[in-house]
Assembly symmetry: C2
Homo-oligomer: 309 residues x 2
């Protein structure tokens, strides 16, 4: 097995040349970044922990790297930001093979390239389980926050919700399952290879509020409703796609329940003035006077994922 410094040399080659705006990447005490001009800096961190966010029997190491990166990058999408670069801190058991670490890094690198950026540095340490912490910097002209929704705004969604949760349920029932058809393939990919909607986020400069759906539609809509002091009504029939309906039925679960409380799709959910809904977004509800989230006319509590319950 390679030593720490040998591994870092290999990872440096794998992650490639730092993108524009990065003056110094891997190999010193810290990275150096040129500050953006006329833009704000957006900064986020996210963790992906073995046996909490993934299990080795249902995800390849490349999946783990890919998923962990996209989950973090999705926070930039929700702030209408371009990525500048990422740092990754990986803790791993002493007996994890070099090939597994490099596969994880390939997944990170692949995800980074898909959103137009790169891993430019980080940290390796030992740990009982694999933990990947990813921090990203981005730049934005105007970051929509959670507190600007107003009664009368449209609620609009970009991307699937519930499909990743369906894929995860398939894998938990049968870790080696192969997709029988296109809906099942979509569900497995939604969980294994989610995508941070950076380009879609960049079209949301006019949103009155914006969030990425990581914990299910009910929970994340509630963040907007609470921060903005509005009531949000969701029409789940618009959100449930034919593919989700097919997979949910085979799993014997309620597609509506997957939509409201299934996480990790990283769709973007925003509120917009009626004439400002961007291309690629589908109207799935509206904001009104009051509080809380209502699905199809019924109160929808915070049913999303909370690691501590």
């Amino acid at each position: 097995m390679a030593g720490e410094f040998e591994r870092i040399r290999h990872l440096r080659a794998l992650f490639g040349t730092p993108p524009a705006g990065v003056s110094l990447g891997i190999g010193d005490d810290a990275a150096l970044i040129e500050p953006p001009v006329d833009e704000q800096i957006v900064w986020t961190i996210d963790a992906c922990v073995e046996n909490v966010h993934f299990r080795r029997d249902i995800a390849s190491w490349e999946d783990v790297g890919f998923r962990s990166f996209m989950a973090a990058a999705s926070d930039l999408a929700a702030m209408a930001a371009h990525p500048i670069g990422a740092l990754s801190s990986v803790s791993l058991p002493r007996d994890l093979e070099d090939a597994d670490l490099y596969a994880l890094a390939r997944g990170q690198s692949l995800a980074a390239r898909q959103v137009g950026t790169a891993v430019i540095g980080g940290n390796l340490s030992a740990g009982d389980v694999v933990t990947v912490s990813t921090t990203l910097l981005g730049r934005t002209r105007r970051a929509p926050q959670r507190d600007g929704a107003r009664p009368g705004d449209r609620l609009a969604l970009c991307g699937d919700v519930g499909l990743a949760a369906a894929g995860l349920r398939m894998l938990l029932r049968d870790p080696g399952c192969s997709p029988a058809d296109d809906p099942e393939r979509q569900a497995l990919l939604a969980w294994r290879r989610p995508r941070a909607r950076i380009e879609d986020g960049l079209r949301c400069g006019g949103a009155t509020s914006l969030i990425d759906v990581s914990d299910g539609l009910a929970q994340d809509a509630l963040h907007i409703a609470s921060a903005s002091g509005v009531r949000i009504d969701v029409d789940t029939s618009v959100v449930i796609t034919p593919s989700l309906r097919v997979v949910a039925e085979r799993l014997g679960v309620d597609a509506r329940e997957l939509v409201l409380s299934g996480g990790e799709d990283y769709a973007l959910l925003g509120t917009f003035a009626e004439t400002e809904v961007p291309e690629g977004f589908v109207v799935v509800g509206a904001c009104g006077e009051g509080c809380g989230v209502w699905a199809d006319g019924e109160p929808a509590g915070p049913t999303g994922h909370d690691h501590f319950r």
Copy 2:
């Protein structure tokens, strides 16, 4: 036990108002930072993992928070940077008490205040053991790197080296030990409450190279020697303090060995033209033609800490 969102509310109050330059802290998808003018951005991440970097029987939760923060902040010191802010990602077992999490956060907050900054956001998730990942942003006019040392430069040190390793050995022998005198008190504090030398780093704009000593003097001097293509000679007799000598003797270990391979003191080690050694730095060696690190005339291999050996 409090839920995730209740804990985040409590932490937000505990970490207080974000410092200048931070437009948006805890509570949205990401933090927003005003870009510095005429300065570069410095960015680092570091992890602190239970049973690797600490054990519950030898460190309080406040110690864990404090140590993890300072270890990360020390990378900014080594880049001659002012901290802008920090994000913290904490994974913790589901049965960890609220009071323990808040004590950890108090340690982080205390450390942040000591270096003039604050924790402005982050992430909470479950995990089998406690893992704290800390990312910091800083700003610098000129960051000394590792590759600028030249033959003839003085090697100079700011802060103790070896004392934290001595304190750790005391704790590993007797987790409940009380310091018998001032040298023992210093050793325990060096490990439990190390300090990132931000102010000292800011005086190092004229360094030809600079690094923080996290892995022992031999290993970290070797990073400079290798990157710069010079030979570094260290005189350990200047580095061994009377306190270190006392504690090492009682432990029955070689003080020289603690200096060369004991980590986690976070002293600053730099190379400077003869007339440029800043106040507070002590000359402990010199750079010459050749390669490698030599201690007291003997080759000193990379004996520092490598998590994978």
